[in-house]
Subunit: 328 residues, 2 copies
DNA sequence: CTGTTAGCGCTTTCAA
DNA sequence: TTGAAAGCGCTAACAG
C-alpha cells in the first residue's frame, strides 16, 4: 500500500514548483505556460494524482458538500426525494452525504452539527416536525448555528424551522380526501404517529374537508405492516379509509382483502404521496400526489440560491383511481 | 455571518493551550486535569465549537468516510441496499457520501476517483457489471488505485472487479424460476438491458432451469413503464413470463391486465428481488428473494473488516405466490 | 499534566 | 509566467 501522490510529488516529477502544479491542476484563474502545463498534466496522469479534497477544503475554506438528512431511505417517499436531491447536486457538482435520522429531532441535530464540522455548504432536512418541543428547539438552535456560519438549510416538510421550507400542502391534501369521502357513511383514518406534525396537518385537513369529525382513528407507524395491522383494527362497517401514507395504504389494502373486504365496493381507500407502485395495485390506489422528486431538487436549489429563508408551498393534488371509484 | 470558532478560539477562551483543548475535545488517550478539562468543555459549549472535520482528517491522515455508488436511489432495489449500508455505517460511526451512477462504468470510475480524493476509507459499488469492456477495465484500474492507497472496496453484484464482492445468486435464482415454469407451454422473458451482466446471468440460469431455450425475449429498461410496455409486446399465447426485476414486473402485471389477460389463469408472472411492495399486488408476485438490506450492511462490514478480497455468494430463494399459483 | 512546535496537502498572496 | 512562503485548523511528537 503506497502513499497517495501529493501535489508535491507531481511538481517534483514535472520539475516545477508546487504552486505551478496547483495552478494547472486545480482551476486557477492564472495561466501557465504551455510547456510547463503539459509537463504537469503528464506527471499527474502518470502518478494517478487526485487532489486531496480535505486539504483543498481547508485551504480554500469551503467544501462543495451538501448534507441530506431523512427519516428512512428505505421508504419510497424519502428515496424519491433523495433522487431529486442527488440529481440537483450532480448539476451543482456537489457531493452529498446522507444519513437516516428516524423521527427523533435530536438525531437530526447531531447530524447537522457534524455537517457543520464538515463545513457543508447546505443541508436538506426531509421529514416531519414533531411535538417533541425541547428537541425541536435544539434542532432550531443548531440550524441557526449552521446558518450563522454560512451554511444553507432547507427543510422539506412543515415550516417552523429557521430555514428555507418546501411545504407540501398536507392540510389541503387531507381536505381533498375528506371532500371526496363526504358521501361515505362510516369513515376511518389510519394515521401515523401522533407526535408528527405532518400527521396532524393531514388529519386536520381531512376533518375539515369531510365536514364532520367522527372518524374512527387508528395510529400506525408509517410502515407497510403497520398499515396491514390497521386494516384488522377498523370497525366492521367502515365504508371509507384515509390512510396517511402510500406505504401504509399498500399494506392496508392487503389487510382488508385478507379480512374478506372488497375495495372499493365495501371500503374506499385513499393514500398519500403517490409513490409509483400504488398505480399498480388492484384496484389502483386513490391518493394525494406530491411531486417528490421535484421537491428534492427544488429544496437543494432553494438552499443554494436564495438568501432569505423562504417558505414555498407545494400543491397536493388528489388523484382519484379505482380504490375509491366504483366505475374505475 | 460569523466565522466558525476554531480550536484556537476555544483554547483562548478557556485560557489553555490549543493542545490541551484538542486533548479534551477530540478523544485523545492522554488525560487532562479536571480543572482545565472543565474550562475547555465549558468554553467549547459556549462557543458552539465543532471540530473542523477537514482539518482533522488532514492532520490524522484518515477520514471516517465511505462512498456509496449505486445505479439509482429511486429504485427500491437500491434504496433497500442503501438502507443496509447506512445502518452499518452508523454503527461504525462513518459518514456516507452517496451518488447515482446509472449503468455507465465510467461514471462510477469518476466518482470513485473523487472518493479517493476525499480519502474515503471504503467504497461500496452496487450494480451490475456491463459488457462495456473498456469502461469496466478503467473501473477496475481505478479500484486498484483506490485500494493501492489503502481504500477498501466492495461490490454488490457480479464478481469481476478486484474488490470484495457480494454476489447474489442470479443464475440460481433464474434457474429456480425456470424450473418453476417447466410445465408452462409458451414462455416469455422480460430482460433488462443486454449489456448488463446481471441480466445475462439471470437469463442463463432461467434457460438452464427451464430445460429449453425457446423463450420470447423482450428487452426493457428496468423501469416500471418499461415493464408495462413489455406486457404489450409479448405474444398473445404466452402462458408464463419471467420479468427480471420486481419494479418491471409490477408494471408488467398492470400491462397484462390492461390487455385483458388474467394472472395467473392466463399468464404466470415471476419477478426478481422481492421488494416489499410486490407482496401487496393482486395476486401477490412470485419472485426471487434477495436479502437486500442485509446485503448492504454486509458489504460495508466486508469492506471494513476483511483484508483479502473475498467473493461471497448470497443465496437467492424462489418465493412462490399467487402470480404463479392457481391455488394462491 | 501541560505547552511548543512541526507538519498534514493545498491555495494564494507577494515578489521576482 | 513562475516560485517562495504564509497560512487553513487540527494532531502528535517532544519537551518541560
Amino acid at each position: 500500500m503506497t502513499r497517495q501522490p501529493t501535489l508535491q510529488d507531481v511538481a517534483q516529477a514535472a520539475g516545477v514548483s508546487i504552486a505551478t502544479a496547483s495552478r494547472v491542476l486545480n482551476g486557477s484563474a492564472r495561466r501557465v505556460g504551455p510547456e510547463l502545463r503539459a509537463r504537469v498534466l503528464d506527471a499527474a496522469r502518470r502518478l494517478h494524482y487526485t487532489a486531496n479534497a480535505q486539504a483543498q477544503a481547508l485551504a480554500r475554506g469551503g467544501n462543495p458538500l451538501v448534507g441530506l438528512l431523512l427519516h428512512d431511505i428505505a421508504d419510497p417517499y424519502f428515496s424519491l426525494i433523495a433522487a431529486g436531491v442527488l440529481t440537483a447536486a450532480a448539476e451543482y457538482e456537489m457531493r452529498v452525504v446522507i444519513a437516516n435520522t428516524g423521527t427523533d429531532p435530536d438525531v437530526a441535530t447531531t447530524h447537522l452539527a457534524a455537517l457543520r464540522g464538515q463545513r457543508a455548504r447546505a443541508a436538506i432536512l426531509v421529514g416531519s416536525r414533531t411535538t417533541a418541543e425541547a428537541g425541536e428547539a435544539r434542532l432550531a438552535d443548531e440550524i441557526e448555528q449552521f446558518t450563522a456560519v454560512g451554511g444553507r438549510a432547507a427543510c422539506v416538510g412543515q415550516p417552523g424551522l429557521p430555514a428555507h421550507t418546501l411545504c407540501p400542502d398536507n392540510t389541503g391534501g387531507g381536505a381533498a380526501v375528506g371532500r371526496h369521502f363526504r358521501g361515505r357513511a362510516s369513515v376511518a383514518v389510519v394515521a401515523g404517529p401522533a407526535r408528527l406534525q405532518t400527521v396532524r396537518d393531514r388529519l386536520h385537513g381531512f376533518r375539515a374537508g369531510l365536514g364532520r369529525r367522527e372518524e374512527f382513528l387508528v395510529e400506525a407507524d408509517f410502515s407497510r405492516d403497520g398499515g396491514y395491522r390497521a386494516a384488522q383494527a377498523i370497525p366492521a362497517g367502515t365504508t371509507a379509509a384515509f390512510v396517511m401514507s402510500d406505504v401504509m395504504a399498500t399494506g392496508f389494502c392487503t389487510g382488508l382483502r385478507d379480512r374478506g373486504l372488497r375495495i372499493p365496493e365495501d371500503v374506499w381507500v385513499a393514500g398519500f404521496g403517490d409513490v409509483p407502485s400504488v398505480r399498480d395495485l388492484s384496484p389502483p390506489l386513490t391518493t394525494v400526489r406530491l411531486p417528490l422528486v421535484e421537491m428534492g431538487a427544488r429544496a437543494l436549489t432553494l438552499a443554494l440560491t436564495e438568501d432569505q429563508p423562504q417558505t414555498i408551498g407545494v400543491p397536493a393534488e388528489l388523484v382519484v383511481r379505482g380504490s375509491t371509484d366504483p366505475t374505475g
